[in-house]
Symmetry: C2
Subunit: 488 residues, 2 copies
Amino acid sequence: MTIYDMAREHAVISSAGSIVGWDQETYLPPAAAKYRASQISWIDSRSHDLATSDAWRAALEDAESTNSGTDPKLTANLRELRRRFNRATKLPTDLVARASAASSLAKHAWADARKHSDFATFAPHLQTLLDLAREMADRWGYANEPYDALLDAYERNTSTAAVATLFDSLQPELTELARRVVEISAARRPSLPPGPYPITAQQQLNAEVAAAIGFDFQAGRIDTTTHPFCTTLGPQDVRLTTRYDEADFTSSLFGILHETGHGLYEQGLPADDFGLPSGSSLSLGIHESQSRLWENHIGRSPEFWQRWYPTAQRYFPQLAGLPMEKFLHYLHRAAFSEIRVEADESTYDLHIILRFGLERRLLNGSLPVSEVPAAWNEAFRGLFGFFPRDDRHGCLQDIHWSMGGLGYFATYSLGNLNAAQLHAAARRDPTIAAASDRADYAPLLAWLRQQVHAHGATLDPADLMTQATGTPPTPEPYLVHLRSRMTG
Amino acid sequence: MTIYDMAREHAVISSAGSIVGWDQETYLPPAAAKYRASQISWIDSRSHDLATSDAWRAALEDAESTNSGTDPKLTANLRELRRRFNRATKLPTDLVARASAASSLAKHAWADARKHSDFATFAPHLQTLLDLAREMADRWGYANEPYDALLDAYERNTSTAAVATLFDSLQPELTELARRVVEISAARRPSLPPGPYPITAQQQLNAEVAAAIGFDFQAGRIDTTTHPFCTTLGPQDVRLTTRYDEADFTSSLFGILHETGHGLYEQGLPADDFGLPSGSSLSLGIHESQSRLWENHIGRSPEFWQRWYPTAQRYFPQLAGLPMEKFLHYLHRAAFSEIRVEADESTYDLHIILRFGLERRLLNGSLPVSEVPAAWNEAFRGLFGFFPRDDRHGCLQDIHWSMGGLGYFATYSLGNLNAAQLHAAARRDPTIAAASDRADYAPLLAWLRQQVHAHGATLDPADLMTQATGTPPTPEPYLVHLRSRMTG
């Protein structure tokens, strides 16, 4: 078998695992959870064994040694397969096992600590996870600081220093902007007419919107889960989920707009290369750019609602008395929340900047674990102007660290920045801008297909952004977007 | 690994395959079908490789050689694991591959032949499948005739001659009974008030009924498919499906009663032994006995409807004008149909007896393939009193042969016979009979759990029937049941 054959077989296995995982989140009967874990674990082991096998190594070396370099896609595929293989095989088995055991314990400890707002009981677990993360970073190797090696798992070949520079240049105006947006929003007192917004009507509207912006229901579907997500079960099988709030139809709709963004990316990847880097998504920061673009840049725009508000009013007669301007105020409402997942577009990135700074200091050793709560609260006050009421609403709110996911948070804001930059670049084409202003997004999607989706994972994120927009990631387009939203 | 460990791992793999297969039938987007086949095939290969591996053989031999024989369950498990291993390994790989290729071609040819009612185009495929079936039977070995070896796949250690004797003793009275039931039913002109019977109301009633007769929704669920089925995705994960007809709520309900019967059996198997014979269902004839018992003996009984008709009337107000007696006439309606899957309780087994006779003659060489249509039509007229209008409504109607499923049909009628015999035996306990007559089926289910479900596949079907009822399968209880239905 060639390395391509093996990569394709690996995709068959891992996508079978995704089916089993999707069912776990959507339709699993409660009593079946325990056995389901054994089914998932068996498939995961098979896919891990294959991707770290001697046969894989030999096939990869063989392909590398016979590659003439004349086929850029082949060269890019081999480069990325090599990077993944090295990441997967540089960690000794016992380290992987220790990390898995530690995060399994830490998840329980975190849930308990959060419940009782008791950081001290989580601290030793965080220390262990941090030690493990440093050990892994040492094994993987890094250019400047351990965080580089962790970030590389989500955002390949992206330097921590570059991210820090981006965030540093974003933060001052963002802090100021957020303060003003929150003030404006408070004065508007935005609200939605009372529900119920029937779930079946929500489902119909969501499906209509998803199809209209380009989601292919021949190759995907929408189901219901507690936490919305998008997962790919095969080259033409993209599953979105959302949750429903009968008091607010925008909750499920913006869930679907976000997940449809992810889904359009997955459906736009070259299907024939499924399993190869050239048929895979590139990074979390690029994936999130697609979801944020459709959720925020399109879904919260007045032009979008010019087209869709009458439809929403047909589905939900209680909207008849709410002028579209007021509805947009509701969609653009902003407030300082202690909780990241409840944050709106204007304040969200402040939460990320806070986490990124703390994580980086934790990893380079300048912040001891015991001082995390104090450092969190101080940083929070600097950004939001007040202290979180307790650690439950502060440094214990997110699950990520307990899962060993250090280095993950940054990609959310990279996604926001990339979304703004890509959308602005696309709109420099007057045909795209004019069509989007009529809520015809086919030209925009075609541009994204060509500039982003079609490349799969053959380019590094910064190179993809440069090719598509003319520059590497920069904060300016995002600030322009947030400024215009505030005044809109 | 011991053979028990390997059998349990095999169950993890094959049940993961069942998840992937279930999703294929329930929620698969249309464009995903092709890739899904590769995912299913990969899992199937892993489970086949394991169950036919040298390691499996060695572990089985090791367990057999160290078995002292003092633990009956262990002995029964090893005996059945040996039987399965021999069946799986006696066929050379190329024969399995030829059979799979032949049936893949035959399925398409059959669909086409049925469409045009053109047996001649299917005949060469049937000949190939028949030759392959004989070759497999020779490899597996048999006591008296090739059919024995095929039947053994579905109904282990059951002789064709014994089935023939059963069917022969059933047929004369059954033919006469069917004729009279069809006459009575025609005179009653049974019908249901016009629909719509809303699907959500059907779903609620079905779930209420399934739960009331004992289906555990913590360990299972109901979804919608074109063809109803029951599949097990784990020891506490039993999935039922049905289809909905807005003009007739009894269609989905009796689908669910039937599948719930299968599901109760699966939920009643010893969960700790999942993957071992002692935790597996025994045979198709026993499985079908459970579905038929709940569908026909319970679900079509006046006592059941004494309890449930008022509920149905609440869900479907149009039933208010239909007296329960007339509703029961509708449930007991009978007619001579050319098509097996449309046959009612009274005429169904005539279709099976016909197929069993032809299959047996095909396999022992006394019926050439070219003479199937004539033989079918002649036999049909003998049982039903008229000729089928064409081969589409005759020998081309069923998919089974085209899939290589020779020897399968008999198990449907074995299920009917077993159902009647088990139900009659259970009702000899006055507590069970009295409770069932009040539509309280907990005692009946407890009896089935103990007499049937708890044994898994540790006994042969005839031994299980003898232990539970006092005799091996006999036609009398079934004839008693059909007679009483006719007069009821």
